[in-house]
């Protein structure tokens, strides 16, 4: 069969969602940010809520997320996305509000805003991209950086004694009564992308049902910051990040999942 006979509109099975704009992504080759953006937009498309959704972009590599996500969006200052989302949601309780935040943003400078938004049970969705590093500013240590991991501000590896321990924000947030759905996923393989998308769908559904804060952490690569080829960075992530940040649901329907 000729390829021309296959490439026909009626045979289309996968195409970039129109909820992603046509702008070329500003991310490094192979960076998980792009995939994460796309599946968030696919969920919004599938739920038919584009016209009722307002997104909050953080400061970090995804500072320009609003250039790529085709919904009403606002850029927050570093770490404050959950507070910004709170302001929006309190004004538009009937609309869908989500933040998209890196680990420096969510787990360092914005820890207070994140914990308190969760603790109030703000009915918003947080997409949390944990790449264990400050990507945007050139690969400095983040609270999530693993023990011994080399970054530009921990050039000899993270020393727990002087630099503190890697912070599992998602586990912490799952403990709070204000969170309803909490999950940790990744987007490095087709199977994981599909699972992550299901989790994001569950998070938005939980928002729709007014159940409180929902959060999906996506353990992701920062091949530039980690100084690796994209494919190698994904392999390194599987080997080193996943044992410390295990994938799966942590909380479903307000109840902690036990087998974590």
């Amino acid at each position: 069969m000729d390829i021309k006979d296959i490439i026909k509109p009626e045979n289309l099975v996968y195409q970039k969602t129109p909820l992603m704009t046509d702008k070329t992504l500003s991310y490094c080759p192979g960076c998980g940010h792009g995939t994460a953006h796309r599946i968030v937009m696919e969920v919004i498309e599938e739920m038919g809520i584009q016209s009722e959704t307002i997104g909050v972009a953080p400061v970090g590599c995804s500072v320009l997320a609003y250039d790529f996500m085709n919904v009403d969006m606002v850029g927050a200052s570093h770490g404050r996305a959950p507070a910004v989302a709170t302001g929006i949601k309190r004004c538009w309780p009937e609309k869908f509000v989500y933040t998209y935040q890196g680990d420096g943003d969510l787990a360092a400078i914005g820890t207070a805003e994140t914990i308190h938004a969760a603790n109030r049970g703000e009915n918003i969705t947080i997409i949390f991209i944990n790449n264990g590093i400050y990507g945007m500013t050139g690969g400095q240590m983040a609270p999530t950086t693993l023990e011994g991991m080399k970054t530009s501000t921990s050039p000899y590896g993270r020393d727990l004694k002087s630099m503190g321990n890697p912070l599992k924000m998602t586990e912490l947030l799952a403990q709070l009564p204000g969170t309803c759905y909490v999950s940790r996923q990744s987007v490095h393989s087709p199977r994981n992308v599909r699972r992550a998308k299901k989790a994001i769908r569950a998070a938005f559904e939980s928002q729709k049902a007014n159940k409180g804060l929902s959060l999906v952490e996506i353990v992701s690569n920062c091949n530039s910051g980690w100084k690796m080829e994209p494919v190698a960075s994904n392999e390194w992530m599987v080997e080193h990040m996943f044992p410390f940040y295990p994938l799966g649901d942590l909380k479903v329907d307000g109840k902690l999942v036990n087998n974590q």
Binding site: D72, V74, V84, E113
Partner: protein, 356 residues
């Protein structure tokens, strides 16, 4: 029939906000302004008008809640006192950069640092000369009575939306805490129409989505944005200067004072005139834009001008810039939460401008 009430300044501004049709308040407790949120919570504006009131986890969170809420096109506000306002500066700069309207209230106290809880006017520079980073201006209103605390909630929201810019009410612990008679006006309806040219309401089908941001990584476009802001500020300077004159017709000496200091100066004028010293008062109501022109017109007629502030002398710089050379200009003030008496003000006018 007039609706009169005896109220604290902090309560009056809260009542004013409700009646001005505010949609949201986000704040964090700090003396001497905590009554603003306390009054709002007690009033249950969610039931009265549908207004949302939320106690944030910090001033940083509060100003960012205001930022998010303002991006929806609703009328939102926060209040704090000096240290809390310092903490908000990054967010205020973002609000100005993204051109979001909102009402901010500083019931100022003495500094620097944790300072004191007593009234002060030492946040003038912070209020009118930026405060946060970048080239931006706040419209700054200075209430000098409890009535104005009420009235300026209305004026503040009007100006904020007219210019799509944050408006700051720079009050102080004296005006915030004192009780006076207030004439209340009727409840305005909350706004239900949102201008899709800039507000976030969710992208309507078939229309472009909106982006609210202060970021543009392209320097040439960022410069154009800055030029646009400067043009807006120029128009604001042209149209929004507000001030009050008292006894200036025959005055030989002039006080320039705002807020609680203006109240003290009124009494000092009376005392001075009893001794035959003809003193008048120029009270800036907008600290930015500063009433430079009226001051420059009055100045040549004066033997001397005394800028009276509860600070080491901040507004006096603008007084000097506006009045020009050739006039004798001095500053008198007390600091750290101390309030000068009318007698001290008069005495210093004599000492600094007459006997010298």
């Amino acid at each position: 029939m007039k609706e009169l009430r005896l109220m604290k300044g902090n309560e009056a501004v809260a009542e004013g906000a409700i009646r001005a049709g505010a949609d949201g308040y986000f704040g964090y407790p700090i003396t001497p302004q905590s009554e603003v949120m306390e009054y709002l919570m007690a009033q249950q504006p969610e039931k009265r008008t549908g207004m949302v009131v939320l106690q944030a986890e910090s001033e940083v969170a509060a100003i960012n809640m205001v930022y998010g809420a303002a991006s929806t096109g609703k009328r939102v506000m926060t209040s704090s006192s000096s240290p809390g306002i310092s903490l908000m500066q990054e967010g205020i700069s973002y609000l100005a950069g993204a051109e979001l309207p909102c009402l901010l209230l500083n019931v100022a106290r003495g500094g620097p640092g944790l300072g004191t809880i007593q009234p002060s006017q030492a946040d003038y520079f912070q209020s009118v000369k930026g405060g946060g980073h970048g080239d931006y201006q706040l419209i700054v209103l200075a209430p000098s009575s409890v009535q104005e605390m009420f009235d300026f909630a209305f004026l503040g929201f009007d100006l904020a939306f007219k210019y799509r810019n944050p408006v700051l009410m720079l009050s102080d612990g004296l005006i915030g805490q004192m009780m006076e008679k207030v004439e209340l006006c009727e409840q305005l309806p909350r706004v239900t129409h949102f201008d899709r040219s800039w507000t976030l309401t969710g992208k309507p089908d078939g229309q472009e989505r909106n982006i609210v941001t202060s970021l543009d990584l392209d320097a040439s476009r960022q410069e154009i944005h800055n030029q646009h802001l400067q043009e807006k500020y120029r128009q604001c300077k042209e149209n929004e200067v507000r001030f009050e004159l008292l006894n200036t017709d025959d005055a030989e000496y002039l006080f320039v004072a705002y807020g609680s200091s203006a109240r003290i100066c009124q009494k000092a004028i009376q005392l001075g005139r009893e001794e035959g010293i003809k003193i008048g008062l120029l009270r800036p109501i907008t600290l930015w834009p500063f009433p430079a022109k009226p001051l420059s017109e009055l100045a040549p007629r004066m033997k001397g001008i005394l800028s009276v502030e509860q600070s080491a002398g901040q507004m006096v710089e603008d007084v000097r810039l506006s009045a020009g050379c050739g006039v004798h200009i001095e500053h008198y003030g007390r600091m750290g939460g101390m309030i000068p008496t009318p007698e001290q003000v008069l005495e210093n006018l004599k000492k600094l401008l007459i006997t010298k």
